[in-house]
C-alpha cells in the first residue's frame, strides 16, 4: 500500500491544545440505525480482536466489516463479539454489516434447514427475524435497533422448484417481521446466481437490499451476475467481489472476503459518488 512519507510538521501538526476536563465520561453506546454507504469492506469468519481491527483501520482501504451476529448455522465461534467490541470498533471508525445465519435451504446438507412446507417456512423466517432483532439488542444496539440493517445469509442451493418456493416464503417471513416496529432494514446475502436473487426480486415485499457474492474481482456493485440491473438499484447493493484470500495490514494477517457497499450499513452511512463500488 503506497504511503506518502509526509511527516513534516508543516503537513501534519501536533496537538494544539489540551482542553476541557469532564467529570463523568458519557457511556458509549452503539447507535441504532443505518444509512447508505459507498466504500470497501471485508468479512471474516470470526470477529478479529479490537487491536487487530485497529491495525486494519489505519491506512487501509477498508471502511466496514461484516460481522456474523448469530444464527443456528453461524460457522465460527465469536469469542470477541460483545457490545464492547461493537462500541470499540465503531469508535475506531468502522461501519458494520450485520449478518444472521439461520436455517438454510431445505435441499442442502447444512445441519439446520428450512421446511419444504411454505407456510411453515414463512413462520420460520419470522422467527429468525425476531432472533436477529434480539441479538442486535443484546449487542447493545440502542433505540431498539430501529433502522439497523441486518442481513440473512442464505447460501447457494440447487435449482429445485419446491426448494426455491420454500426459501422464498422463508425470506418473505424474514422481511415481514423485520418491518414490524421498531423496524430494521432487511437484507439478504447469498450467491449472486445460486441463491436465486432473481427470484427474490419477484417477492411481494422484497428485501430492502441485497449482498451478493460474485467473485469476479470487479468491485462495482452495478455489475452482478444473474441480477437484473434494475433490481435493488437505489443504493441497495453490497457485493462480495473477491473471496477466500489473506491480506496483511499493520502486521496483522486475516483471511477475508473483499466487499463493496453501495447500500446500507450500520450505524451510519456516507455516500461517495466517485467510489469504485458504485
Amino acid at each position: 500500500m503506497p504511503t506518502l512519507p509526509l511527516k513534516a510538521a508543516a503537513r501534519l501538526l501536533p496537538v494544539l491544545f489540551a482542553a476541557a476536563l469532564f467529570a463523568t465520561p458519557s457511556a458509549q453506546a452503539y447507535p441504532g440505525g443505518g444509512a447508505a454507504f459507498n466504500g470497501r469492506g471485508f468479512d471474516t469468519c470470526a470477529a478479529p480482536s479490537t487491536s487487530q481491527m485497529q491495525a486494519w483501520w489505519t491506512n487501509t482501504p477498508w471502511s466496514f466489516v461484516g460481522v456474523y451476529i448469530g444464527g443456528a448455522v453461524r460457522a465460527c465461534s465469536q469469542p470477541n463479539l460483545t457490545a464492547t467490541w461493537m462500541n470499540t470498533t465503531n469508535s475506531q471508525g468502522w461501519r458494520h454489516s450485520l449478518i444472521w445465519v439461520g436455517p438454510q435451504a431445505p435441499c442442502t446438507t447444512f445441519s439446520s434447514r428450512i421446511s419444504y412446507d411454505t407456510a411453515t417456512a414463512y413462520q420460520q423466517g419470522k422467527d429468525e427475524a425476531l432472533k436477529a432483532y434480539n441479538a442486535l439488542v443484546a449487542l447493545g444496539v440502542t433505540n431498539n435497533a430501529a433502522g439497523t440493517p441486518v442481513v440473512y445469509d442464505m447460501e447457494g442451493y440447487p435449482n429445485d422448484a419446491s426448494c426455491k418456493a420454500a426459501v422464498k416464503q422463508f425470506l418473505q417471513g424474514w422481511v415481514d417481521q423485520l418491518a414490524v416496529a421498531p423496524a430494521q432494514a432487511s437484507g439478504v446475502y447469498g450467491s449472486a446466481c445460486n441463491s436465486w436473487f432473481s427470484d427474490l426480486a419477484t417477492m411481494a415485499r422484497p428485501p430492502q437490499f441485497i449482498w451478493a457474492a460474485n467473485w469476479d474481482g470487479n468491485p462495482s456493485t452495478s455489475t452482478l451476475s444473474c441480477v437484473a440491473g434494475s433490481a435493488w438499484s437505489n443504493h441497495q447493493r453490497l457485493k462480495q467481489y473477491q473471496g477466500d484470500h489473506n491480506e496483511t495490514y499493520g502486521g496483522v494477517t486475516l483471511n477475508i472476503d473483499s466487499n463493496c457497499a453501495n447500500g446500507p450499513l450500520a450505524p451510519t452511512g456516507g455516500l461517495n459518488a466517485a467510489s469504485v463500488c458504485n
Binding site: 501536533p14 482542553a19 463523568t24 487491536s51 446438507t109 445441519s111
Partner: protein
C-alpha cells in the same frame, strides 16, 4: 508544553520498546502438542462460503507451551462406512503445515467444510459423521463426539486453521505492555466533510472509566493519519499531557484538540481519519473530502 513535543519519533519508539517487555508467552521452539496436552471440543456446525462447516477447538490444557506443526491428522468416523481422512482444502493447502504455538490456556481453531449443496441433497438421505478422530503430531489420538459433518455432496476438507486471537488475552497483553492507558476509552468528534488542501480540525476525548486516576505524566505518544485515494499521511507525536494536568482522574474525561492538513492531491471522496494512542485506544472517522 514544549518539553512534551521535543522527542523525535525514533526516541519515542525506543522508549516504548524499553517499557514494553515481550508479551507472547509461547517460546519459539515449543515441543509438539501431544494428545495429553490438549483438549478438543466441537464448536458449531455452520454455513460459510457455500460449505457446511464444523468447527473444532483445540486448547492447550498442559502447563507449558506446545506446538501444532499443521492441523492434526483428522479422520471422520461414520457409523456405517469406512473412516475418511480429511485434508486441506484446495484453496488452502498451506494449512497442513501452518505451525501454531499455543501457550497454556490458548486455543487453535480448525474449521472443516463439505460442499453444502448438490442435486442429491433434495432427497432425505444423508451421510453424517458424528465422530471425529484427531491424531496429534506429538503423539496420541483424541476422539471427538458430537460433530455434524455431512459428506453427501463431497469430501470434508480443512478450510481454516489458526490460533484464536481472544479479546481477553489481547487486553491482558496490552495491560501488561502499556499499563493503565489500555483501560482508557476514546471518542473522536470531527466534521463530516473537509476541504482538500485545507485544515481538518477535530477533537479526541480520552475517558477513564476506572475508579483510579490514569497518569499521563510520561506524555504518551499518539499516531495520527489520514488515508485517502490509496495514499496516507501520518505522524507520531507526543500528547500534550501537561496541559491536561498530567492525569485523567477517575471517571473523568479529557479532550484534546487536533488538526491535520488535508492534502490537495486526492480525488474527491471519502477519507479515513485515524488517531491511536500508544498503548491506549484508537478512534477514527470517515470524512468526505471535497
Amino acid at each position: 508544553m514544549p518539553s512534551c513535543f521535543s522527542l523525535p519519533p525514533s526516541a519515542i519508539a525506543l522508549a516504548l520498546l524499553a517499557a514494553a517487555p515481550g508479551v507472547h508467552a509461547a517460546p519459539a521452539a515449543a515441543r509438539l502438542c501431544a494428545a495429553a496436552d490438549v483438549q478438543a471440543s466441537a464448536g458449531p456446525a455452520g454455513a460459510w462460503r457455500g460449505q457446511a462447516t464444523q468447527e473444532i477447538r483445540i486448547r492447550n490444557t498442559g502447563g507449558e507451551a506446545c506446538a501444532l506443526p499443521g492441523f492434526p491428522g483428522l479422520q471422520l468416523q461414520p457409523a456405517s462406512e469406512a473412516p475418511q481422512a480429511v485434508g486441506a482444502s484446495e484453496q488452502a493447502p498451506q494449512l497442513a503445515s501452518s505451525r501454531i504455538e499455543l501457550a497454556p490456556g490458548e486455543e487453535a481453531v480448525v474449521l472443516l467444510g463439505t460442499p453444502g449443496s448438490c442435486e442429491a441433497a433434495n432427497k432425505p438421505a444423508r451421510r453424517v459423521s458424528r465422530r471425529l478422530q484427531l491424531a496429534l503430531a506429538g503423539g496420541g489420538i483424541k476422539a471427538l463426539d458430537g460433530v455434524h459433518i455431512d459428506t453427501l455432496c463431497g469430501r470434508a476438507t480443512v478450510m481454516r486453521f489458526e490460533r484464536v486471537q481472544g479479546e481477553g488475552a489481547a487486553r491482558a497483553a496490552a495491560m501488561k505492555a502499556a499499563g493503565a492507558l489500555s483501560q482508557l476509552t476514546g471518542s473522536l468528534s470531527a466534521p463530516d466533510e473537509a476541504s482538500r488542501g485545507g485544515t481538518l480540525r477535530y477533537t479526541v476525548t480520552l475517558s477513564n472509566p476506572t475508579a483510579s486516576p490514569v497518569s499521563l505524566a510520561a506524555c504518551p505518544a499518539y499516531t495520527q493519519s489520514l488515508y485517502a485515494d490509496g495514499k496516507a499521511i501520518d505522524s507520531t507525536q507526543r500528547l500534550n499531557c501537561g496541559a491536561a494536568g498530567g492525569q485523567i482522574p477517575a471517571n473523568a474525561s479529557v479532550s484534546f484538540e487536533m488538526q491535520v492538513q488535508v492534502p490537495a492531491g486526492p480525488a474527491a471522496g471519502n477519507g479515513k481519519l485515524s488517531w491511536k494512542l500508544d498503548g491506549g485506544p484508537g478512534v477514527g472517522k470517515i470524512v468526505g473530502l471535497h
